[in-house]
Symmetry: C2
Subunit: 227 residues, 2 copies
Amino acid sequence: MPIILKSMVTLSEENYLKAIYHLGKQGVNAVSTNAIAEKMDTKASSVTDMIKKLAEKNLVNYIKYQGVSLTKEGRLTAASVVRKHRLWEVFLVEKLQFSWDEVHEVAEQLEHIQSKKLVNELDTFLEYPTHDPHGDPIPDKDGNITKTDKIILSQLQVNQRCMCVGVNDSSADFLKYLDKHHIALGTQIQILSKEPFDESLTIKVDDVVINISKVVANNIYVKSQTL
Amino acid sequence: MPIILKSMVTLSEENYLKAIYHLGKQGVNAVSTNAIAEKMDTKASSVTDMIKKLAEKNLVNYIKYQGVSLTKEGRLTAASVVRKHRLWEVFLVEKLQFSWDEVHEVAEQLEHIQSKKLVNELDTFLEYPTHDPHGDPIPDKDGNITKTDKIILSQLQVNQRCMCVGVNDSSADFLKYLDKHHIALGTQIQILSKEPFDESLTIKVDDVVINISKVVANNIYVKSQTL
DNA sequence: AATTATTTTTAGCCTTATCTAAAAAAATAT
DNA sequence: ATATTTTTTTAGATAAGGCTAAAAATAATT
Ligand SMILES: [Mn+2]
Ligand SMILES: [Mn+2]
Ligand SMILES: [Mn+2]
Ligand SMILES: [Mn+2]
């Protein structure tokens, strides 16, 4: 029989908790089996199995057929994984010359390394960053995040100015698209016009005028500048 | 059916290859099942099972009842794991304020992170270290190590001077013992006398005279100074 | 050479994390 | 209010990696 240390959480369990954490953020507090299965690219039956294990360990609240929500302990564990993921992403970009489209896969592995000292020292080494390379907030030791008031670019009015502060889609393809058009965190953007037909936008990025589709505009977070 | 990328090696397989690599270094080329089991704190039957898998993947040469040896590919894989382990140990000590007795457990986890870019950039970031915090050599990209001519402290003659360049036992207990007596890599040591009865040594460490047992002397690697 | 001891392998079982297919419950549509 | 569709759960299988106990092979003694 393997020695079980104070509520050990497996790598797989951590990934489920993280998925529930992210899905739960989007408003509702009861996350469905199917939503988890889709997010994790697995089958609903596998999700049900795992949910039972997590409920047994008091990491989620679970009532059959009614979805799950994280307990306090589950939320803290998930936040810790997210914290590690984002700190490592900062490390990779700031110290190891990774670009923002290359960090995610590696961070998916690094987020499971268990060592409190490692996380704390990494945080210190990076000088306590508050956001990762995609503009996402880094939870603190207690799992708290300071949410900033960012909005989706497509919601701005014509002529408004704003600054890019994050992305909704962190896929390499989208990030490389943004690179190509010189859009990065901190980039100034002005809405020049909106096409009524397909809701595409003409925007000015650092004095260069470009056209972006509605889909693109839906995936860029900005902070509106004072008019 | 999971997609198998070009000869995927699991975490467990990596650990077995590493154990065989380390056991193989000590002279003989055929490593016994029991030796692996002991080193990995597992059972001989589990070792036999795993050896079969590794042989199937052409990572080890295996003849029933006659032990195993690494193939070229197996040795390269093992060396890559050792390279990562030692590079991470350097990182933890040099950048994250870990002491040399705290790094091993974390490096055991970090050594399995898969990303060529990560290893290469880490190597660059650390300015291409050749040895880890315990004085062990770091294999290069091709798995080659430059072996230095270090000897065991207990083999020196009375009155000889030397410099500590490594340890044979990397356990936290032993490393803390060395800390307590101010012995670190680079420390100058002179043999003052050897007790015939128990082969304990009286040595001078930076002008301080101390006594160390034969066991301790057997686990300190030194480079002899010109007489 | 025969016996005993040790090492290694095999056989069978267990746990974790998956899957497919079928059953049950809940949600939606008629 | 029924019937149909969708979602969720259960049942049964599988693969990886581990274990114990027994069998087989090798090594060491008498
Ligand atoms: Mn990420
Ligand atoms: Mn991110
Ligand atoms: Mn180590
Ligand atoms: Mn080391």
